[in-house]
Amino acid sequence: MTIDEKLNLIAETLDADRKNINSLTVLKTLDEWDSMGTISIISMLDRKFGKVLTADEIAELKTVQDILDMMCA
């Protein structure tokens, strides 16, 4: 999966405007990064990449790049 495809997937998972999603985006600045958005990303990483995040790892998600780093399969 290319970086662009991963960014598309993140935007789709968060139901966010793709224009607002790049690797430098700070998650807190997105309206979509609420509890449902967080759970959506956790679920996407589990289902598509087999990555089950710990509570500490969830707390460490600060930017879109942090999510990209988890999308390794």
């Binding site: 509890s35 449902m36 967080t38 707390a59």
Partner: protein, 255 residues
């Protein structure tokens, strides 16, 4: 003393699914303490046998079976083969998924329905067959406040529990002439392995507390808090109660 009480389950054969942990295990422990002979079912054989060893009284049995395979009728057949007939049934087996609706797939809904609703359906249909149950049969399902009040991220789960509530009421109407009772207990959030899975979805204990714990004026419930209501509904003390939804939620509904 307890044996002459209407709250006693002395001599009652009670089938309990989901009994290897959480509310199911607590129901088994309390029912046995009140004189019941428990037929406990669960997926985890080691944990199930651990519960079995700790039940008061004699004659309890464990049937290790995964109910996702549409084998609820087989569970009843095995129970009846050993215990002749059943006085009560509690469906505590259940699965929960916290997922926003937009990413909840039909396969998620079906997975939840298989255990939460279809297994219950199969089991009671077999229990209701002539010869498989005794007089004054009492059946208790486990609903949820998620079905009563709604809960974000729990659409499939709450739909399954809502279906149980509706089913309970219609069955109560259909079987009242036979004195067979159906009731549903709707717990708030209870400190169980299921809740541990939900807790992991929150970034901090503080977030979890704000989202879940603080919504219960009496604090988070324990499995034993729900077991008392279930055992009451199994007993003759509740013989005039059917088709009811008993909320046991630490005040969640009055917040």
């Amino acid at each position: 003393m307890i044996n002459s009480s209407p709250f006693s389950l002395n001599g009652h054969n009670i089938l309990i699914t989901g009994a290897s942990s959480g509310i199911g295990a607590a129901v088994a422990v309390l029912a046995a303490k009140n004189g019941a002979v428990c037929i406990i079912n669960g997926r985890d054989e080691i944990r199930l046998n651990g519960i079995l060893e700790n039940l008061e009284g004699e004659g309890h049995i464990a049937i290790n079976m995964d109910l996702s395979e549409r084998n609820g009728k087989e569970l009843v057949k095995q129970a009846v083969a050993v215990k002749a007939s059943i006085n009560g049934f509690v469906h505590c087996a259940g699965i929960e998924k916290t997922l926003p609706f937009r990413i909840t797939e039909m396969s998620d809904l079906r997975e939840i329905m298989k255990i939460n609703l279809e297994a219950y359906w199969d089991i009671i249909q077999e229990i209701l067959r002539r010869g498989n149950h005794k007089e004054n049969l009492s059946i208790v399902s486990l609903g949820s406040v998620a079905a009563q009040y709604g809960a974000a991220g729990k659409t499939a789960y709450s739909a399954s529990k809502g279906a149980l509530i509706s089913l309970t009421k219609s069955l109560a109407a259909e079987y009242a002439n036979k004195k067979i009772r159906f009731n549903c207990v709707c717990p708030g959030y209870v400190d169980t392995p299921m809740l541990s899975n939900i807790r992991q979805l929150y970034a901090s204990e503080s977030d979890f507390s704000d989202a879940i714990i603080k919504k219960h004026p009496l604090g988070l419930g324990m499995p034993e808090d729900v077991a008392g209501a279930v055992v009451y509904l199994l007993s003759d003390a509740s013989r005039w109660i059917t088709g009811s939804v008993l909320t046991v939620d630490g005040g969640y509904g009055v917040r």
